[in-house]
């Protein structure tokens, strides 16, 4: 379970398992990272998805990372048009989609150029030679054909395959035109890779037949191409070695593959079911959050209404209005949308209504890098509103974890009658991993009680008379006789909820709202320190869980103990966090921003936390964090 010692430079995964290594033989690997790269029209996402499904069905643990071009359809064959899909599968539990590919499949010169630098020395490179025309080479700035000189073969194990030609050949008798036939070349690539890694094939064939059920000839063509790829591997001599990655010893249960956005949407569906409330999603499309809307709009049968509003402000307004009416109001967006929603979040803070605000973070500032990932909205979530306007903040740590994080956000919103900012990001939104599907019976009970009776000493209803424990105010929904009341954005008198300009009341309410959020019950943070001897603590939050966890494993393997604490709750912090921090000589906080969590930790705990930051629109690599951690640990021991 703790064998994730990557040495990215080793060809085709780390050969640290028994296995013969000669021509025609099978080599056993513990893990492999494959990257499919091609033009956005080449179907790389589908290809990757299918390989992933097969790996999952086979029982490997895995994690994936798609990489879309920023343009919808950049001109064919250009660098901006390259689309890729990376998957990491292993015989043990892994944490990331892998730093670098062991195998790169490049469908055209652009894909080669854009990805080759990531392939470590000795890695396997499979190229579709058909696209290496002069025109295509020029398009991406290759003066000469890189397949012609020795530059590549000296560094990598290069396999040149005329995939298009071979696919067209295989489909000759189907009656399909050349152009249509050629389109199936991604299935050829998939077949070849499936052969190389001893993957099962039935699933893919079934899938293709279902997908193209309405166009049986296309279905058949794809199946044929897939088989042709497989057979090409089997019959040609070029591939001397094939590889096996055994199933992982995962926890018992039923699994599925899931992306972060889907898991998050399911979490919202589950929150609706577990609370017994209808869900109203008021939202406006924005990358990389739109898929949450797309997914939820498919599940109206769960009492979910999805409202695509005229803008972000209307989206959150509708969600808040629905919450006022007794529904679970949810809004989803990315950073620029949060900026627009901030005034309404403030209104939700003042009216103390449940509300879930999903921010799938992307590269900023401004429009920034819309298709890339970042964690730079934490301080916006904390402070991005006028006045003292505290909200709860929750962050998922991996694609599958989005499900639990959404349920947790719903719990806090419903129990404490507060907006909750749920900070996902582009990496986990689009990334996927196996998910141990929970038993519905084990999901938390989120049922709520609406106010039905007057609650005040004078026999009237006071909308701001609080639960002494949670400090939540009663949720009295319109339609409840006798509880008519008015709420709004002006300061409220404690208890009655009437408008109050009283100075002392304002001070009291400002502190009360803060205390309510500070008092939210959140689980203690757990520290992962297998040896118990760590003197360095690494603290992370959100999607960096994978790379930090993997890096921690690596340095431990090298004999350097390190403790890892990962925060799901950014506001309030877990109660034990101060204690935890004080137990270590050094605290390091890696973030995909300029040190936002570090700032909060420094301010709150006066700890001289080291902030390690990278803001490249890309997840951390385990490798780089390994070095960073090792340096800090060495610094402490010296």
């Amino acid at each position: 379970m703790t064998t994730d010692v990557g040495n990215g430079a080793a060809p085709a995964g780390s050969p640290d398992k028994a296995g013969t290594d000669k021509a025609g033989t099978v080599r056993k690997l513990d893990r492999v990272v494959i990257r499919f790269a091609g033009d956005s029209g080449d179907g790389m996402q589908l290809t990757g998805d299918r390989f992933t499904s097969e790996a999952a069905a086979f029982g490997n643990d895995l994690a994936t990372q798609p990489n879309f071009p920023a343009e919808i359809r950049a001109p064919q064959g250009t660098l901006p048009g390259v689309s890729s899909f990376q998957l990491h599968f292993a015989d043990y539990d892994i944490l990331t989609p892998g730093d670098r590919p062991d195998v790169l499949v490049a469908m055209n010169p652009a894909a080669l150029k854009a990805n080759i630098d990531d392939l470590p020395k000795g890695g396997i490179l499979i190229v579709n030679t058909d696209e290496f025309t002069k025109r295509n080479l020029v398009k991406v700035g290759y003066a000469a054909d890189p397949l012609e000189d020795n530059s590549l073969t000296e560094t990598y194990q290069v396999h040149k395959v005329a995939m298009a030609t071979l696919t067209i050949g295989a489909l000759e008798n189907t009656g399909l035109g050349k152009k249509d036939a050629e389109r199936a070349k991604n299935m050829f690539a998939l077949g070849l890779l499936s052969w190389m890694y001893h993957r099962p094939t039935e699933g893919t064939e079934r899938f293709l037949r279902e997908k193209f059920a309405k166009k049986p000839d296309i279905a058949e063509a794809n199946v044929l191409a897939f088989r042709a790829g497989w057979n090409y591997g089997e019959t040609t001599e070029s591939f001397a070695v094939t590889y096996e990655v055994a199933p992982a010893k995962l926890n018992q249960g039923t699994y599925r593959q899931i992306t972060g956005n889907t898991a998050l949407a399911y979490g919202i569906v589950a929150a609706g079911q577990q609370s017994g409330l209808p869900v109203v999603l008021g939202t406006y499309p924005i990358t990389p959050a739109s898929d949450i809307l797309h997914e939820l709009s498919k599940h109206k049968n769960f009492g979910i209404t999805t409202l695509q509003a005229e803008d972000e402000i209307a989206g959150i307004g509708a969600a808040l209005g629905a919450s006022y009416g007794g529904a679970l109001g949810v809004t989803s967006t990315s950073g620029p949308g949060v900026a627009l929603k901030s005034e309404t979040i403030g209104l939700a803070v003042m009216t103390e209504l449940p509300l879930i605000v999903i921010d799938v973070q992307r590269g900023g500032p401004s429009t920034g890098l819309p298709t890339k990932t970042e964690q730079a909205d934490l301080l916006q979530a904390m402070f991005g509103r006028n006045g003292e306007s505290p909200v709860a903040i929750v962050a998922p740590q991996s694609p599958a974890d989005c499900f639990d994080a959404a349920l947790e956000a719903a719990r806090i919103a419903l129990v404490y009658r507060t907006p909750v900012l749920l900070l996902s990001d582009g990496a986990i939104a689009n990334g996927s991993e196996p998910w141990l599907i929970p038993d519905v019976e084990d999901l938390p009970d989120l049922s709520v009680t609406f106010a039905t009776e007057p609650n005040a000493p004078d026999g009237t209803f006071w909308p701001y008379l609080r639960d002494p424990e949670t400090l939540a105010r009663p949720w009295a929904v319109p339609g409840t006789a006798g509880l008519q009341h008015r709420i709004g954005g002006l300061e409220k008198a404690d208890g009655t909820g009437n408008i109050s300009y009283d100075p002392a009341n304002h001070d009291h309410m400002v502190r009360l709202r803060q205390r309510k959020i500070d008092g939210i019950e959140v689980p203690d943070v757990e520290v992962d320190d297998p040896s118990g001897e760590a003197r360095v603590l690494v603290i992370g939050w959100g999607s960096s869980y994978g790379p930090i966890g993997a890096a921690a494993r690596r340095v431990r393997k090298l004999g350097m103990p390190v403790a890892h604490a990962h925060l799901r709750h950014l506001n309030p912090f877990p109660k034990n966090l101060g204690d935890v921090i004080s137990r270590y000589d050094r605290v390091i906080v890696p973030e995909m921003n300029l040190g936002q969590l570090a700032l909060l930790l420094r301010a709150k705990y006066l700890v001289d936390a080291i902030s390690y930051t990278k803001v490249q629109g890309l997840p951390f690599k385990a490798e780089e964090l390994q070095d960073v951690l090792a340096d800090v640990i060495k610094g402490v021991s010296e």
Partner: protein, 351 residues
């Protein structure tokens, strides 16, 4: 399936809202909050008119909600013994949309001002109208920003000297009725604050209309724009200026002395005596082009002011359609959470 196919256009505006067991009085609708408008503010008369009108609907008070933005007029909800939200500037239609979609059993009213609805909130307003959300929108148009103490608004007349325009404003104003009609509104009416009967009639039709009903109410702000509508309040002037339209009736005014007739593609005013009876335009609230022409007959200088219901036409409401989609989906497929979580492609790891 289109929204229209989802049906329901024949429903009344209040179908689904529970009715009260006992008759109600205006005072049942007065909250315990002290009314805090300036003395003489037109908002008082509108408040009274609404409080007198609502009992006639016979709805359960607790099933009525007033949602407002920010502005003097937007304090309205505090004074109503119903549910209410005094929200933020311009956003009431958005918030009310979410509420209306979530709750078919509520009668949802939006109260807003010319700044709130047409300046910062213009986009939410026009989208609400095109969607035809079942909301009644009372737009208090005093042609000024009252709460912020007297800046010009999107309905102020050109050249208006205000605190923010000492040399006169430059913007050509909106005609709220034209704007609403251009934004696909299914119901648009107008009334003057002081005309309780006219206002009540428009409110009645608005309440009965299933869908968005925009009611523009000319409202006097004695502090920052006093007398803006005085010419409509002087009986004699009013008779020459106010053109009250009633569906199916020939459009005459001034005690029948004047009539509205066609002129080119628009309308003009003539002496009734000078025109043939068949040339007098008969109001048809279903006719959008007529409604638009009527909206242009009303001029910013109040030379002529059309009141009553310009347009009243049936179209499926967004909230009905949205609920119908949910109901159909529920009927088509049970809400099996376990099945959803499992999806199609799973694998099992044995213990």
């Amino acid at each position: 399936m289109t929204a229209t196919e989802l049906g329901l256009p024949a429903l009344g505006g209040l179908v689904g809202v529970p009715t009260a067991d006992e008759p109600q009085k205006a005072k049942d609708y007065k909250s315990d909050q002290e009314v805090r408008w300036c003395p003489g503010c037109g908002d008082y008369v509108v408040l009274n008119a609404v409080q007198s009108f609502l009992p006639t609907l016979g709805l359960k008070r607790e099933n009525i909600v007033f949602v407002s933005g920010i502005g003097c007029s937007s304090r309205f909800p505090y004074y109503m013994n119903t549910y209410g939200m005094h929200s933020i500037h311009g956003r009431a239609p958005a918030i009310a949309t979410g509420l209306a979609v979530a709750r078919p059993d509520l009668s949802v009213w939006v109260v807003t001002g010319d700044g709130d609805a047409l300046s910062i909130g213009g986009n939410h307003l026009i989208h609400t109208l095109r969607r035809n959300v079942n909301l009644k929108i009372l737009l208090f148009n005093n042609r000024i920003y009252g709460l912020t103490k007297g800046q010009y608004s999107p309905t102020s007349e050109e050249g208006k000297v205000t605190k923010s325009t000492p040399l006169g404003s430059l913007d050509h104003p909106f005609n709220p009725v034209s704007l609403a009609l251009g934004a696909e509104a299914t119901f648009v009416g107008r009334a003057v604050d002081s005309d309780r009967a006219g206002l009540t009639e428009v409110l009645r039709q608005a309440a009965e209309h299933r869908g968005s009903a925009l009611v523009e109410i000319y409202q006097n702000c004695p502090i920052f724009n006093d007398g803006a509508f005085d010419v409509l309040k002087d009986a004699e002037e009013a008779s020459r200026r106010i053109i009250n339209v009633v569906h199916g009736q020939p459009i005459t005014f001034g005690g029948g002395d004047y009539a509205v007739v066609r002129e080119g593609f628009g309308l003009a005013v003539a002496k009734t005596a000078d025109v043939a009876p068949e040339d007098v335009v008969v109001h048809d609230a279903e006719d959008l082009n007529l409604a638009f022409a009527l909206s242009r007959l009303s001029t910013q200088d109040l030379q002529h002011t059309v009141t009553g219901v310009f347009r009243n036409t049936a179209r499926t409401t967004y909230d009905d359609a949205a609920r119908e989609q949910v109901e159909q989906a529920k009927a088509a497929k049970p809400a099996d959470l376990g099945a959803l979580l499992h999806g199609k492609d799973t694998w099992t790891v044995a213990g």
